[in-house]
Amino acid sequence: MFEINPRLKQPNPAPEGDASQFVNLHYNNWKIGLSFDAPLPLARQMPAILAVGGGKGGVGKSIVSANLAATLAQYGYRVLVIDLDLGCSNLHSHFGVAMPKRSLADFLLTKTTAFRDVILPAPIQGVAFVAGGREEAWADYLDQPSDYLLPLWQAMIASRQQYKVDIVLLDLGAGTHRYTMDFFSAANLGLVTVLPEPTSIENAYVFFKMTLWKLIENLGHRMQQPEVAQDIKAALASMAGSTLTSGYASCLKELQLSYPLFIQDLQRTIQARCLGIIVNQTRDQSDIDLGSSMEHICQKYFGLPTKYLGHLNYDEAVLKSLKNRRLLVSDFPHSMIAKRLSVAAAQSLKILGMQRRN
């Protein structure tokens, strides 16, 4: 069912106005939660932004990014994958490409290269990627305010107009660093990969919490009410406890009495995003059920709209394809995990309100 055909033509560029329904519908609410201050194109010229995060390292963020991009391209979309794991990048290895000569650092730091030139073709038709790398060059920048990332953001949102990119997929790094959360909170659909083990689940919840925090902070910045955002964050931190009834969702409802307008805006901008959960390396049914349990908890506790997108079974094919230095879904297109990935991709498209093009 999953054919990687090298003779397949490049997917047709999207006709004008055929953007994601989800992006279109929530455009105005979505943009008030952004961290980046840059003029935005019209709603129908925006690419759908997907970000893959997860807090803990080694949960399969890059694997999911690379292969999800390939699967989305199979469905007829042009996908641009950006390696935002600035400290430890290896997206290119998942694509089976050696460390490229040009990387994001050339575009952002030394500014010697145009964005067009750091976009590299992936071995799958319809997918292009921007490699990270040059970790030593980033060392001084990571602690700075994230202004140095603004050109990347501008290039990203202009990519639909310039290169007819339908979906921008961000491969975020581990941890909840400021720039990671900047990009995650900017995503229309934020994917969180989880392993069915307590450490990973704990980190995923931290990641959800930081997303909520980031949105409050961004909104405070946008509305020119940073002190209100500070108050709300302080109140949330003191109120929230280890019970469902004292979760962030119910705390926010109580805070609505004190800050009606701000919380209303916050709810709107939260609803303009969707979070997806992908459980990786499942071995039995209880691992698979974990996703729907987490979906329920996230909605109750954090009040974030969360969808369980699918699970990826534990598969030796992952390691084999990495050792073969080939992309998983093109090396083992008939493996169970490739099918699972296409299910997750189809679910993502459904949330974004995008039809399969072929």
Binding site: T243, S286, S293
Partner: protein
């Protein structure tokens, strides 16, 4: 402004009710129109979420809270899973304005589900003699039933008797006369097919609808099996299962030879009609 925002959703939802907190539907995360099956699925999902040893709560929700939530879920499910309790609850929280007239059938079956409570002829059933009353009933029936089959009519009262019992097999199957007649058919398994099935059923004296009612085999399949309409039937494994419970209900608990004979007929049909399918 503040007051409006704080209280804009509650009063409309709960008119004139002193209840606070989420409704049972909210606890189970289902809509008020959900079917029983959907409620059950939601319940199972939530139970696994909050059960001890669930990793989904790790670092977020304490164990006591999980236990509380689980108690609430159990309570909500207990009410919503019971149709009559659910209806009462719906009225109490104001989803349904007034009780709809209860369908006749529901009451009829509702009464008949519990054999301990259903009124019996000749009354005097006390709890220690349940078993006695049960077996005694079969005897009583075997006296009553021959009259009915002689008359050839089905009176409503007889239906009541039939449905008043919860048993695996039709009650008449233990009648020695019937057993002898059935034995005649069972002894010739090689010629057993749908016709034999019909004969067995007629000997016991029950309609197809009763088989359908008690075994939950669809009436189409019962007719198909009895008329040897193999193309209307599902695959063999289902047919064998249907035959087994069909015959069980007729009182033939281990009629392996009959099932094998029927399987042979089925295979013969298959080979003759679709020779190239294998």
């Amino acid at each position: 402004m503040n007051e409006q925002l704080g209280s804009d959703f509650k009063p409309s939802k709960l008119p004139g009710n002193a209840r606070s907190g989420p409704t049972y539907y909210e606890i189970l995360d289902v809509s008020t129109y959900s079917t029983r099956l959907q409620i059950r699925e939601a319940y199972i999902r939530l139970r696994s979420t909050y059960s001890t040893g669930s990793h989904a709560l790790y670092s977020l929700v304490s164990e006591e809270e999980a236990r509380d939530a689980l108690d609430k879920i159990e309570e909500a499910y207990r009410v919503l899973d019971d149709e009559s309790q659910r209806k009462e609850y719906d009225i109490a929280i104001g989803i349904i304005k007034e009780p709809a007239p209860r369908p006749q059938g529901a009451e009829f079956f509702g009464g008949s589900v519990d054999p301990m409570r259903s009124p019996r002829r000749g009354g005097g059933m006390s709890s220690p003699s349940v078993h006695e009353a049960f077996t005694g009933d079969v005897g009583a029936n075997s006296e009553v039933w021959p009259e009915d089959s002689h008359e050839g009519t089905r009176s409503p009262s007889r239906r009541t008797v039939t449905f008043g019992k919860i048993k695996k097999a039709a009650s008449r199957s233990s009648d020695p006369e019937v057993l002898a007649a059935m034995q005649a058919i069972i002894s010739k398994p090689e010629s057993f097919d749908g016709k034999g099935l019909t004969q067995l059923r007629e000997i016991v004296g029950i309609p197809q609808s009763e088989i359908q009612e008690r075994t939950k085999i669809s009436i189409e399949y019962i007719k198909g099996m009895e008329n040897n309409d193999f193309q209307k039937l599902p695959s063999l494994v289902y047919i064998r299962g249907f035959l087994k419970i069909y015959l069980q209900y007729l009182g033939l608990a281990d009629a392996v030879t009959l099932i094998e004979a029927y399987t042979e007929k089925y295979n013969h049909w298959r080979e003759t009609t679709r020779p190239h399918s294998y």
